[in-house]
């Protein structure tokens, strides 16, 4: 006898089963296989396999398409017992919930608040912290930085010379990219505009593995000097400026006065680490001009598979001396050694997320506390409700229902409740998320990736089920020790075990109060931080009435730098002439806008000793009127004037803290000389000292700032032959009562364009906007915590009220007897209030201890306040006690008003 292929036959046995019908099919196939094998063995085997697979396919399909729905199975009494039980529990549970709409609505809303809060915050955590970056194999992407402990530099951006060395000599990277942000003047379209731009090396898009939707990426050729200029558009810009023209490739765009060929359009969802500029431009480095220095470019790389951060860092460290040799003119071998410079690699995700992780985890912790409070509330409610059902349970037990069966029914009922809460919570979360995204700080990373994703849904359902299980534990536990006889005897008003039940209930209230205390203290500390932030003197006054905007004068519009500076002066004058404008000032960087530069300075009076490195300071270039407009006082000397600029005077201004670093008083600094450049010698005289400015943000220490004239002698003669150093893009600060009113901006535009109609302006905002950005994270956290705390407090109050009034109802008879026996109203009220006070006291104590431990976690979010701030702790403790007393007052009054006759008659 010939057996068919064993594997195919075993597959058939599996799908056909072992009944006669199934085996008959095997028989049919075996018989025919035998016949076919006589003709052609191979064809027969093939045939058998084909038929076996076809049968397996049809069988599997039939099983899925013809299986009757669960409810049919259950109705017919088929299906397995477990399923049937769950189904009947579900139906029974839904029906009981339906019959007690009061309880169901309150409990479902309470759970929905807790679940919704968690879902909303978790979608932030998931979208920002957990999801991989939206690039292919994003775990191999790293940010490339440098450190120089010898220069007190913790982390600094990349130098092109190092980048090229790693690219040419390194073996650990698949691709490396360099980029920097800025703006370009786009002309030739409808309106001359200053647009956001990002300059990239050709490797950047390859490292990220992104392709344009139209056209191509930059090539090595695009990124080389003396080749045609090219540009890639962002999707947004392509749509707004070119009307999504599919034939845009090959057209030209005038950027900074140069005609560039459009070679690509990036995809709609592409962001370069969250940035979405108008255009991408190739950097086109001339390698003969780079040196180990110019540490001001962002860099990222894709590690080869299997290469660890440590291996890559080790190789890059070895390459540092090679870079110094290969690209001379900057850092020397000695400086390299002294500065202890070394590369630093960070997972790219860390670069993108920044420090927001801590905030989000704390918010999620907060949300989970709200959920715990909600659960405690619902648990309390269901305990009360369970008591009302003693008789029902007793009857069912007496009729033979197993305890497990009754317990599982309670659990199912709560799970149904949980799922209703879950659905409501999702709705809340969806709405909440829209509000949250609208008010979230713009510097919160990855905002565009936040959504209620399948992962978030899974989390929500998980939380809902866990919460319902937690809530149902108490009633189940209660019926574990259920005394059938007494329940039946007492007609459902059992006093037995009531002490124990009250203990559980009290414990729940204490937990709620304690959790609310923790949240209140968290919010309180945030409020105190915010107060401290608002009290900081940032280096300007009335930021809401100072409007800022940037005007750039590209060399294609005005070539001569002298004429360029005069153009800025004329614009400032025209703006100053607008009615309502109090003053106008110019700078390269408004306080806190992040546009300042950093370079080392030399102080003539304090020459550096051998091997000592010059200190790096914040650099800004200014023209007349800046300090007056910002409201920053001149502490000593005078300010830089237009006349200084006309003379190309070698003058400089410094901040008070910088002056005091070297001299005893600001006045002493005036007349001293300061220089910058590659070595000492290019001296500028200090003519004035101004108040300190918090340039790195309100929460940071005041920066030591050096203000150079907008146009003056060039201190970097080694780098460029030009005798003058001039700034073409200036930020204008305009102080006026009319800031923010209609038509004001138009008048300013007209003033600028009356000088030269080809000048682009950009970045219109008030100093207050800049300040808000700096305090955004604190205020965001504050609002989130405040909302969570308000919900917690409300739920906590409801909890306390519920328990106390339940106890009062339970004790109506006892109170009636007391009053009948002559107890005073005051005494009765005191008795009830005392109960509330004991609960409050215990909860407050537990809460304070917990807060003492937990608020340390949020110390990085706090500013100017200790995590164990006595004022906050005392205020919150006192406030909560008062709130609990108020919640107990209503039931206490009810108790005092008990009519003894009625109370006794009701028995």
């Amino acid at each position: 006898m010939t057996r068919p292929p064993a594997a195919a036959e075993s597959l058939l046995r599996r799908v056909l089963g072992d009944d006669a019908a199934g085996r008959s099919v095997l028989g049919d196939l075996t018989e025919e296989y035998g016949r076919r094998k006589g003709e052609n063995a191979r064809a027969a085997r093939r045939w058998y396999w084909r038929e076996a697979l076809a049968i397996a396919f049809h069988r599997t399909r039939d099983q899925f398409t013809r299986r009757p729905a669960i409810h049919v199975l259950l109705k017919e009494g088929r299906g397995d017992g477990m399923l049937r039980r769950v189904w009947s529990d579900l139906r029974f549970g839904s029906r009981t919930l339906w019959r007690t709409p009061g309880f169901t609505v309150v409990a479902a809303i309470t759970l929905a608040l807790g679940i919704g809060a968690n879902t909303a915050i978790f979608s932030l955590v998931n979208g920002i912290l957990l999801q991989p970056l939206p690039y292919d194999e994003a775990d191999r992407l790293v940010g490339v930085w440098n450190t120089a402990p010898g220069l007190d530099i913790e982390q600094v951006t990349q130098s092109p010379a190092l980048h090229f060395t790693y690219e040419d000599e390194g073996t650990v990277f698949e691709e490396l990219g360099l980029w920097s942000q800025g703006t370009v003047a786009v002309t030739g379209l409808e309106q001359a505009l200053q647009e956001d731009a990002i300059w990239v090396t050709d490797g950047l898009f390859r490292a990220l593995r992104v392709q344009p939707v139209l056209g191509r990426r930059f090539t090595r050729e695009d990124d080389t000097r003396d080749t045609p200029w090219t540009v890639i558009l962002s999707y947004r810009y392509w749509r707004s400026q070119f009307g999504s023209d599919p034939d845009v490739i090959g057209r030209t765009l005038m950027a900074n006065g140069i005609a560039r060929q459009i070679v690509g359009v990036m995809s709609q969802d592409f962001r370069l680490l969250g940035d979405d500029p108008a255009v991408y431009l190739p950097m086109r480095w001339d390698r003969s001009e780079v040196f180990v220095g110019q540490f001001s470019y962002r860099s990222l790389g894709r590690l080869k598979p299997g290469v660890t951060l440590a291996q890559a860092t080790a190789e890059m460290t070895r390459l540092l001396p090679i870079a110094v040799e290969k690209f001379p003119g900057g850092m020397t071998m000695e400086l390299l050694e002294e500065s202890r410079a070394a590369p630093v690699l960070t997972p790219l995700k860390t670069d993108v997320i920044g420090t927001v992780g801590n905030t989000l985890w704390i918010l999620l912790g907060t949300a989970s506390m709200v959920l715990l409070i909600a659960c405690a509330n619902v648990a309390n409610l269901s305990l009360v409700r369970a008591e009302g059902r003693d008789r029902e349970v007793a009857v069912r037990t007496a009729m033979g229902a197993a305890r497990g069966r009754i317990a599982s029914q309670f659990v199912t009922e709560t799970v149904v409740l949980g799922l209703v809460g879950c659905a409501l919570g999702l709705g809340l979360a969806y709405g909440g998320l829209q509000v949250l995204l609208a008010m979230a700080p713009t510097n919160l990373p990855r905002l565009e990736e936040i959504a209620i994703s399948p992962m978030v849904l899974l989390f929500t359902v998980g939380v809902a089920v866990l919460a319902s299980l937690a809530v149902s534990l108490l009633p189940v536990f209660r019926y574990g020790h259920f005394n059938l006889v007494s329940a039946l005897k007492e007609g459902g008003r059992g006093a037995s075990g009531s002490h124990q039940r009250n203990r559980i209930r009290n414990a729940l209230v204490v937990a709620q109060v304690a959790l609310a205390i923790v949240l209140l203290i968290g919010s309180g500390l945030m409020i105190r931080s915010f107060q401290a932030l608002m009290a900081v003197e940032p280096g300007f006054r009335d930021p809401e009435s100072v409007l800022t905007l940037r005007v750039s004068i590209p060399s294609a519009v005005v070539e001569d730098v002298g004429e360029m500076a005069l153009t800025h002066e004329m614009i400032a004058q025209r703006i100053g002439d607008i009615p309502g404008v109090a003053s106008v000032g110019l700078t390269t960087s408004i306080t806190m806008d992040g546009a300042a530069g950093f370079d080392p300075i030399y102080v003539e009076e304090f020459p550096l000793s051998e091997g000592q490195l010059p200190a790096v300071r914040t650099f800004k270039w200014i023209a007349e009127g800046y300090f007056g407009t910002m409201g920053n006082p001149i502490v000593a000397g005078r300010e830089i004037t237009w006349a200084d600029l006309h003379e190309r005077a070698a003058v400089v201004m410094i901040t008070e803290n910088l002056a005091l670093e070297y001299w005893d008083s600001p006045a002493e600094a005036v007349g001293k000389r300061i220089g910058t450049g590659l070595e000492p010698g290019n001296w500028n005289t200090v003519i004035g000292v101004v108040g300190d400015v918090r340039d790195a943000g309100v929460t940071e220490d005041a920066a030591t700032v050096v203000y150079w004239p907008m146009i003056g002698p060039n201190p970097w003669r080694e780098l460029s032959d030009d005798p003058l150093w001039a700034q073409r893009t200036m930020a204008y600060a305009i102080r006026s009562d009319r800031t923010g009113t209609a038509g004001f901006l138009d008048e300013i535009r007209q003033a600028i364009w009356s000088v030269n109609s080809n000048l682009p302006l950009a970045g219109v905002r008030t100093v207050e906007d800049i300040l808000d950005r700096s305090t955004a994270r604190t205020s965001f956290t504050l609002v989130m915590l405040a909302v969570a705390t308000a919900v917690a407090l409300l739920l906590g109050m409801v909890g306390v009220y519920g328990v106390i009034s339940y106890v009062v109802t339970q004790r109506t008879r006892e109170i009636g007897v007391r009053i009948a026996l002559g107890a005073q109203t005051g005494t009765v009220m005191k008795m009830v209030l005392q109960h509330g006070l004991i609960l409050a006291g215990t909860g407050v104590t537990v809460g304070l201890l917990a807060a003492f431990g937990l608020t340390r976690l949020m110390s990085s979010l706090l500013y100017g306040v200790n995590p164990v701030d006595a004022v906050t702790y005392i205020t919150v403790a006192a406030g909560t006690t008062v709130v609990v007393l108020i919640a107990s007052y209503l039931p206490a009054r009810k108790a005092a008003g008990v009519d003894p006759l009625e109370a006794l008659r009701a028995e």
């Binding site: 006898m1 057996r3 068919p4 006669a20 019908a21 085996r23 008959s24 099919v25 095997l26 028989g27 049919d28 196939l29 075996t30 018989e31 025919e32 035998g34 084909r50 038929e51 697979l53 076809a54 049968i55 397996a56 396919f57 049809h58 069988r59 399909r61 039939d62």
Partner: protein, 109 residues
């Protein structure tokens, strides 16, 4: 009889007719062969057995298990028969077809 169960598909109709044609020899392989030679329909065994099972569930056919033989690897044999509802369903089908065909000879030929 016009309940939902009696509604049969075209392929099911062919299967039922093949079984009737084969009379005592209505075994799986023979049905397959009959369909192939007379109706020019090549079907996989998977599709055929699936249809047979479905027809049995609808009550339109039944089967009898016959003894195993060594040529069949010791597996039993299944002989199919069309039930009375099966025949009724076929009649129903023919009736529907005939009434729809009536008067169309000129058009279809």
């Amino acid at each position: 009889m016009t309940n939902r169960q009696s509604i049969i598909g075209e392929f099911e109709q062919l299967v039922l007719l093949a079984i009737l044609q084969l009379k005592e020899d209505a075994y799986g392989p023979n049905i397959s062969e009959e369909l192939e030679t007379k109706a020019k329909r090549r079907v996989s065994r998977g599709a055929l057995y699936s249809s047979l099972d479905r027809l049995q569930q609808k009550g339109l056919l039944r089967w009898k298990i016959e003894a195993a033989s060594s040529a069949r690897g010791g597996h039993p044999k299944r002989r199919f028969e069309v039930t009375r509802p099966g025949i009724a369903a076929l009649r129903e089908y023919r009736k529907a077809l005939t009434s729809l065909w009536a008067g169309l000879e000129e058009v279809i030929g």
